[in-house]
């Protein structure tokens, strides 16, 4: 029963958790004392506050095991997936500061509006364009082929928005498509099954395109799945550069 948990909790030490509260542009940090437990993620801390201290706290989560990318927040200044961030790894002097993800509008408290992130995913042509139908054979593709390896290195993105939040170019340039969308575009540029390569290269070459990236590599630094969007964006820069000379011929 829940009571048993609380009794154990009383004997434990507490941490101070500062949580951003507010709607839209208005907000402030509020402090909570939360019991420390041996097995405890940042999401567990947020959940504890909502269930035990302030029922009005808003946040978002779904799968709780790092697959859906719903629960990313700013934890002690850095964007992280909260469901798989153990508190002990990020606790700084007994303090945890939790804020919504950067570079996205806040809906309420810790829940950010990700729609712009996904709009840019589509704007970067992060969408497969088929060249075959369901009645054709599944193509034989050598998994060791160079372009496939390139895709494999970049495909396991869960669109959690952490790279987007870690990117200063996104913060400074509202048109910039951002690391995740461009990373996806790069996998498609390499996809031998895809039929929209030129359109995609054009889509990532505009005013908000891959060329705005300054290779700060905050995306690489913070991606929870160890992906490298900077390398993908560099790939796009290379391919568009090639097409630059082709178009000029």
């Amino acid at each position: 029963m829940g009571n048993a948990v609380d009794i154990v909790a009383e004997r434990e030490t507490h941490m101070t958790v500062r949580v951003w509260r507010g709607q839209g542009d208005q907000g402030r940090y509020e402090s909570f004392e939360v019991p420390e437990r041996e097995n405890q993620t940042v999401l567990d801390v947020v959940t504890w506050i909502q269930q035990n201290a302030d029922p009005s706290l808003s946040y978002r989560y779904a799968c709780r095991v790092g697959m859906c990318g719903s629960c990313a927040m700013t934890v002690n200044g850095k964007p992280r997936w909260t469901c798989r961030t153990h508190v002990q790894k990020v606790l700084d002097g007994g303090i945890l500061e939790i804020a919504p993800l950067r570079n996205m509008p806040v809906i309420k408290d810790l829940a950010a509006d990700m729609s712009g992130f996904f709009d840019k995913w589509v704007a970067a042509e992060g969408v497969f364009h088929p060249t075959a139908t369901r009645t054709d054979e599944i193509p034989k593709i050598d998994p060791r082929e160079e372009r496939r390896v390139e895709i494999d290195n970049a495909i396991e993105c869960i669109n959690c928005g952490i790279c987007y939040a870690a990117c200063d170019v996104v913060a400074a340039n509202p048109d910039y498509l951002g690391p995740a969308a461009l990373n996806r575009a790069w996998t498609l540029v390499n996809d031998q099954k895809d039929g929209a390569r030129d359109a995609r290269l054009a889509a990532v070459s505009g005013g908000g395109g891959c060329h705005n990236c300054h290779s700060q590599q905050g995306c690489v630094q913070h991606c929870p799945n160890d992906l490298n969007p900077t390398a993908s964006i560099a790939g796009l820069k290379r391919e568009t550069a090639k097409s630059f000379f082709k178009w000029r011929r």
Binding site: D168, V169, A172, N173, D175, Y176, S205, G206, G207, G208, G209, H211, N212, K237, T240, A241, F244
Partner: protein, 110 residues
């Protein structure tokens, strides 16, 4: 803000300038010993078509490169966009080029 065309211009000028910068630094390191004098510098450069071409190219490249770099900074840090940004970029590029060309002429004209 930075599209493919501007990006390519900036990267091409960068690659172009790498050897120019190295040479420029080498000359500085060489020339600085024992102090600088106008006569020493001008004796080397005046009437030299080679130095005129070298610094002419350098000035042209740096004008483009710096104008695009400043454009990025102004957009990202001051939020300047659209026509204002375009006017600034051209002004910065042309201004730098005009001043640079005058300087190159000054030190290389016979």
């Amino acid at each position: 803000m930075l599209d493919l065309r501007l990006y390519m211009l900036q990267r091409i000028t960068a690659i172009l300038m790498a050897p120019l910068v190295l040479t420029h630094i080498a000359v500085m390191v060489y020339a600085i010993q024992g102090g600088l004098s106008a006569a020493e510098i001008l004796g080397r450069t005046q009437g030299s078509l080679g130095w005129a071409a070298f610094y002419g190219l350098f000035v042209a490249a740096v004008s483009v490169h710096a104008a695009i770099g400043l454009r990025a900074i102004l957009h990202e840090m001051a939020g300047l966009r659209g026509t204002g940004l375009a006017i600034f970029t051209w002004a910065a590029g042309l201004g730098l080029f005009a001043m640079g060309a005058r300087a190159v002429y000054a030190v290389t004209a016979a």
